[in-house]
């Protein structure tokens, strides 16, 4: 025998009280009753939301800089770092007159993340040399079709309006704390 985990089965005769079954049932009901007065472990989800960790890794965002220009320069480091191969991109050259849209002379004309492949490991964020991609505490919405999970630039790039930007200050602070 390789292990000594075997158990000897005891075929013991039950006593009279045990044979009645009622005490055992009452005992079981009492445990159920006790749980009514315990603190609830569930929450009423859409109305109440659980607090997420400050470094929670949810849906990605492609950041813009203070002037509203896209940070991403389509260098492909996120895609090569991605263990799930969820990121694809196509680069394009910035034309004269587009300096307000893109920070560098090259930008991503197509940037897609397949959220079904993504494992939310955060390696893309770590690989990014331009502070362009970040994971946020937003949860990727469910969908009825697979195509809906391929997030393009329309869903990933944050809005230009200053009040609609994705705030990452808490996240960055937490990262700095972890790294120091």
């Amino acid at each position: 025998m390789l292990t000594n985990r075997s158990k000897v089965v005891v075929d013991k005769q039950m006593s009279f009280v045990e044979k009645l079954y009622l005490p055992a049932i009452i005992g079981g009901l009492f445990i159920t009753f006790k749980h009514f007065f315990r603190k609830k472990t569930t929450i009423k989800y859409p109305e109440v939301k659980r607090e997420l960790s400050s470094v929670y890794r949810g849906q990605h965002v492609l950041k813009r800089d203070e002037q509203g220009r896209e940070n991403c320069t389509a260098c492909g480091l996120c895609a090569v770092a991605c263990p799930a191969e969820a990121i694809t991109m196509t680069a394009a050259e910035r034309k004269p007159g587009e300096e307000k849209l893109y920070r560098e002379e090259k930008y991503a004309s197509v940037y897609e993340i397949n959220m079904l492949r993504c494992i939310f490991c955060g390696l893309c964020e770590e690989a990014c040399p331009k502070e362009a991609i970040f994971l946020t505490d937003r949860i990727v919405a469910s969908d009825f079709e697979r195509g809906g999970f391929i997030y393009g630039k329309d869903k990933l790039v944050e809005p230009v309006d200053n009040d609609k930007r994705i705030d990452l200050s808490g996240r960055l602070q937490a990262h700095r704390k972890l790294n120091s």
Partner: protein
């Protein structure tokens, strides 16, 4: 034949061999890195100083050490010479300094640069440099040029290795471009923004160790590590026709010469092969190129599993035996 000892490894080499070539004959990590030296270009080398080595014994007859580090690409070996490269800590430190000097004016635009991933300066600074720049002043800045309609010159990235000038001199007929001005303001240029129009001018792109000269037909198309390099050939009346094609699916993103592990092409290729033959039907694909496992280009490329040959006859016998029982 002179006998030379490099990092405690001895080798006999023909007369007139340089220390760098002798080191390459030995191979391994004692080979000094080289940014400007190119075996196929005469008089190349001696500019970048990354290949410096310490000669601790000049020769058998005159065993005095050389007073300063020497460039291994231009120094020929003597009988009984003793050379130290990576075993000499002082020298490794000196090379770090050289790398720092090369990076002084080099912009940090690797995420944009098409050369990233196969850039010698990137490898060199990764292996020998500091991870931080101590330079606080303004870097040299130039306008981007187009040399001809197929080659782009980013003078900002140039480290003035002169390789492309040697190509223009030795591979192309008629000198087309060179280095103008001196010292801090020296730059690669054609004569009054002339275009370079020559069948072999595209080889400048291959010899450029950094991203100063890049292929305009490949500009921002893809990153090198997403493309699949394959050996291919075609019948070409101008050149050998043996190239490496960089595929993405069935599309040929770009065509380059076949580079060896020191980044030197096996043979020059003509501009027709390089820029105009971008159809898969133009080429006979031989097979995937062998890429160093440590290179970023080898990332996410899965080798085809060798077809397993399993002898099933024995299992069949066992099965039949069990069945008949």
């Amino acid at each position: 034949m002179p006998k030379v000892t490099i990092d405690n490894v001895s080798i006999e080499v023909p007369e007139g061999t340089t220390i760098l070539q002798a080191a390459r004959m030995i191979g391994g990590n004692l080979v000094p890195p080289a940014m400007c030296y190119y075996t196929k270009l005469d008089t190349s080398g001696g500019y970048c100083r990354t290949c410096i080595v310490k000669v601790t014994q000049g020769s058998e007859r005159d065993p005095r050490p050389m007073p300063k580090p020497v460039v291994s690409c231009r120094t020929t070996v003597m009988d009984g010479m003793v050379v130290e490269n990576i075993t000499n800590e002082e020298l490794v430190e000196a090379r770090k300094g050289v790398v720092e000097f090369l990076l002084i004016n080099h912009p940090l635009d690797c995420p944009v640069c098409d050369q990233a991933g196969e850039c010698h300066l990137q490898d060199l600074s990764y292996e020998n440099g500091l991870s931080k720049s101590r330079y606080e002043f303004k870097r040299r800045e130039f306008e981007m040029h187009d040399i001809g309609d197929k080659i782009k010159l980013h003078m900002n990235r140039c480290i003035l290795c002169y390789r492309c000038v040697k190509v223009a001199d030795q591979v192309c007929d008629g000198r087309v471009h060179g280095v103008i001005n001196r010292g801090d303001v020296a730059e690669i240029s054609t004569y009054i923004q002339n275009s370079v129009d020559n069948d072999f001018s595209g080889n400048m792109i291959d010899v450029c160790p950094v991203g100063a000269l890049t292929d305009k037909t490949f500009r921002f198309k893809s990153r090198v590590w997403f493309a699949k390099p394959m050996d291919a050939h075609r019948n070409c009346d101008k050149c050998c026709g043996k190239v490496a094609v960089w595929l993405s699916g069935d599309d040929i993103l770009r065509v380059t010469g076949r580079k060896d592990k020191y980044g030197e092409v096996e043979d020059w290729i003509c501009n027709d092969c390089r820029f105009d033959k971008k159809q898969k039907s133009d080429w006979v694909i031989e097979g995937p190129r062998n890429i160093d496992r440590h290179s970023v280009i080898a990332q996410n490329k899965y080798g085809v599993l060798k077809q397993l040959k399993i002898d099933v006859s024995k299992q069949k016998q066992i099965g039949e035996k069990a069945h008949n029982k």
